[in-house]
Symmetry: C2
Subunit: 526 residues, 2 copies
């Protein structure tokens, strides 16, 4: 398939007329054709108007139609094959194996949501029987969840497939019955065009209204803001920087009708190394930690940016092993020139804080936007006193924190901002202390994990990729896993609605065979 | 029990030192003793600090302990008997039967949440098995929902028991495991003190940390805002005016850590009278509508403020019957002098819009803050052109809208703001048109009801008392019914957590006997 630089607005290909943009290869620092035309206000309006027009028809499709559509999107993305991988490699500097894995994750995610849609648990069908003899009589009441409305999705730079045009936000919104308008990320416009066409074709082949999906190009501060401000948009999915996410939150809150923003933004993912586990295996843990830190040039939301332990010979052995493992690590190409320069400033900022010691740096040489890994050490008192040390440095840099004792470890945990993840390494001998730490970590993070590293986010039913601000804008939700669909739903209650007019999920004969809550008791379908 | 005018901060009685307030009897316009001392910043700080201190211990209580505590609160409120009813009557002008009914509703609500806590469905326990043979291996992942943190609750003036100190917001937050700090409504400070002491005693008798519950007096613009801005507060429940609710929304969004606000604010609750039902029973419907409109002096969030039909002889008969039923209605005492004067301005504003016709007014004479019922009529075009006609007039006033045809009814429905309820009156002959109207009503309202009136909100599992803005600040939620607990929960995922450290809800042996989602399948406990 030949890239044209056009946007996908419903079933049309539209050349944006508000300027152009070229893609950029971060490994070679070369720009690439074609020219991508940028959206103007009329393009935003057209995409949103089509989404609005499509909404009622789309949300009323049967679970089977919607599930088959999601599977068609997955199949079309699979069919892009090497074309997609090659363009994504050129635009992101990510290696082939990683992008092939990410494509697998993307299509599996779409297929998981197809299963979720068919299962129907998301409808939360709930029935309370009429009690005509009661004083006053109780009416017949039935509840289901319905789609919230058209959704704006902002692709992320660090997952050009799994968190971009047809990534987790889009898949869960489409599953919920919401049309989607994507603002493509400027870091991978060609990848975005390829995937958007795959979705566009699935819309047509499934006989769905064209407004179910559109994708536009443009700057976040103009086109992105206009999209979030559009009255037809009823929710926003975003993965990116704290600055970008909070800007969208402000716009959404200032609308005549405020809408929810699901922004996944900023996390430093503390790792707690408890005493007994360090006593038993400080060296191996130091090396394993550096593997997690430098994987993908540290460009994961769940990258371990802090390691916390009690000062002493075991923590020193861990630090030495980590430093030794980090020093030979080559400089990897980062996703964009902007991310690269932000990383360099962040590392520079950390080095200059009084009391912060540079433990090790990786190799410097590398092509293009190459990032040198870096490991720092500081004591807990200095860390707690400096808010700057809690700011995310996106990339392969991490800070080891030595605490005086377990009490200081607990104080430090309590002083952390919200996180996507919190990790504990321990043996059975550490369980007493781990039990004291766990209640704090639950409050700080969306996912608490033991004896592993936080990179690698499983797409399943029990995943939470979320957490308190600033990790996300909405701690009640997850952007990965089956529960992500709940972000795009709202409950509606039906009182004394005639059977002929009730939605299928709530009819007496339960044609969708849903498990339902009936008079407060869960009843599985026979 | 003698009222003292003190606030309840943990297990202390504290006399607020930032000025005093007297209660006001809207029927007699007399003020009543004692003096209620108002909170200063230190009182807000103390209540929030206690809530924070109590949080981890309270959220870790077993479902049985928490359920028994909610039942103890209910029993203590029941035990207040006539003391409570008499003070509430004097402070609100509401009649005895209504307040006794509302007390029943309040304690039933607490008992419903006790049942909800024991059932445990709110934890959404979800388990995904480890797949060690997979490449890469899948870890063991388990998810549950936990309490979000201390909650600020703002009592409503129009439900001095069911939506005030120990009302739906407080009951659902306590059920979720969240300590609560109530800002009492200035319209019923004595009622608030009585109920707050009932809760305080239940906290002590249940052996819970004192910070689980506090109640302070003060102005919403100062004390209320300080409470919402306090870093320990993690969510807000509010029922009241659009102005008050949006002010709290702004404060919550501007915090360093933004938090969710659940504000139930403003709704005019459209009622659609379809042609066949009017042809068959216009007169009876006109009279029944006026009963709903004037019940409780129209001071319900779900009061029917709009009636929409197709112009013609049947709609005229309906209007005439409603006018005839309204005219003899006596002027009832409103809750506060402020609500009364806002009602008078609202009615005055409606009368002055070009094209609005006064169909009937009720009787004028009445004691104290007495409201004269009023019925207006307008055509759809005028209504759609005037945003002012969509503003809620809180009280016994309603507007009949005559549409040219069914298409104009649909356009009018599509032009409405978000609502708590939307009502359809129809016969089987109207089902074709009702089916066209329903998708729009679902998008506009939290509850769609047929052949009844929206006043009367059942407390059950399938209730949604919510809806799109401005009906509420968060369309994903309900403030009445079992699902209200979800507002105060957030999901946490546990990865490879040792059995010894896992919360009971997620342990292999399932000691709470919960229904859980295991590998995507719902499994009820044996």
């Amino acid at each position: 398939m030949q890239l044209t630089g056009e946007m996908i607005i419903g079933q049309q290909l539209v050349r944006g007329a508000a300027g152009t943009q070229l893609a950029f290869n971060p490994a070679t620092k070369a720009t690439m054709l074609p020219q991508f035309g940028q959206a103007d206000a009329a393009d935003v309006e057209r995409a949103c108007a089509l989404a609005e027009q499509a909404f009622d028809a789309y949300r009323s499709t049967t679970p089977e139609v919607r599930a088959a559509f999601l599977e068609a999107v997955a199949n079309n993305i699979d069919a892009l094959g090497a074309t997609l991988t090659e363009r994504a490699m050129a635009e992101t500097g990510l290696p082939q194996a990683r992008l092939e894995g990410e494509r697998g994750r993307t299509v599996n995610q779409l297929r998981l949501f197809a299963k979720v849609v068919r299962d129907g648990h998301w409808q939360q069908a709930t029935l309370d029987s009429a009690l005509p003899q009661r004083t006053p009589p109780r009416p017949d009441l039935r509840l289901r969840k319905i789609a919230v409305g058209p959704v704006a999705v902002f692709g992320a730079s660090n997952f050009p497939l799994a968190f971009s045009v047809a990534g987790g936000d889009t898949a869960s919104a489409l599953a919920a019955g919401c049309p989607v308008v994507v603002k493509a990320h400027g870091a991978h416009p060609g990848t975005s065009e390829l995937v958007a066409r795959a979705v566009q074709k699935a819309v047509a082949d499934s006989g769905l209204p064209e407004g179910v999906f559109s994708m536009i190009h443009g700057d976040g501060r103009t086109v992105g803001q206009a999209l979030v401000a559009h009255p037809s948009i009823k929710a926003v999915g975003f993965t990116g920087s704290r600055q970008g996410g909070t800007a969208l939150m402000r716009t959404a809150a200032a609308r005549p009708e405020p809408i929810p923003v699901y922004a996944e933004m900023s996390s430093i993912n503390p790792v707690f190394m408890l005493p007994a586990v360090l006593a038993g295996g400080a060296e191996a843990l130091g090396a394993a930690f550096v593997e997690s830190l430098t994987m993908g040039v540290g460009q994961f939301c769940t990258n371990p940016g802090l390691v916390i332990g009690v000062a002493g010979p075991d923590f020193d052995r861990f630090a030495a092993a980590a430093a030794a493992a980090l020093q030979p690590k080559g400089a990897g190409t980062m996703l964009t020139a902007g991310i690269h320069s932000a990383y360099q400033s962040g590392v520079g900022r950390l080095s200059q804080v009084d009391g912060v010691q540079v433990l090790a740096t990786g190799q410097q040489e590398g092509a293009g936007c190459a990032a040198q890994a870096a490991l720092f050490r500081v004591d807990a008192e200095t860390f707690l006193a400096s808010h700057a040390l809690q700011e995310e440095v996106f990339g392969p840099a991490s800070l080891l924190i030595a605490c005086r004792d377990e009490a200081e470890v607990l104080r430090l945990a309590a002083g952390l901002e919200g996180q996507l993840t919190a990790t504990v390494h321990c043996t059975a001998d550490d369980h007493g202390f781990a039990a004291k730490l766990l209640p704090t970590l639950e409050r700080k993070a969306g996912r608490v994990l033991f004896n592993g590293f936080p990179t690698g986010v499983e797409v399943c039913h029990a995943m939470v990729h979320g957490g308190p601000f600033p990790a996300t804008s909405d701690t009640r939700t997850t952007s990965v896993g089956a529960m992500a669909i709940e972000r795009f739903l709202r409950p509606v209650s039906y009182q004394n609605v005639p059977q002929a007019l009730l939605p299928a999920a709530l009819r007496d004969d339960n044609p969708l065979r849903l498990a339902r809550i009936v008079d407060g008791e869960l009843r599985t379908a026979i």
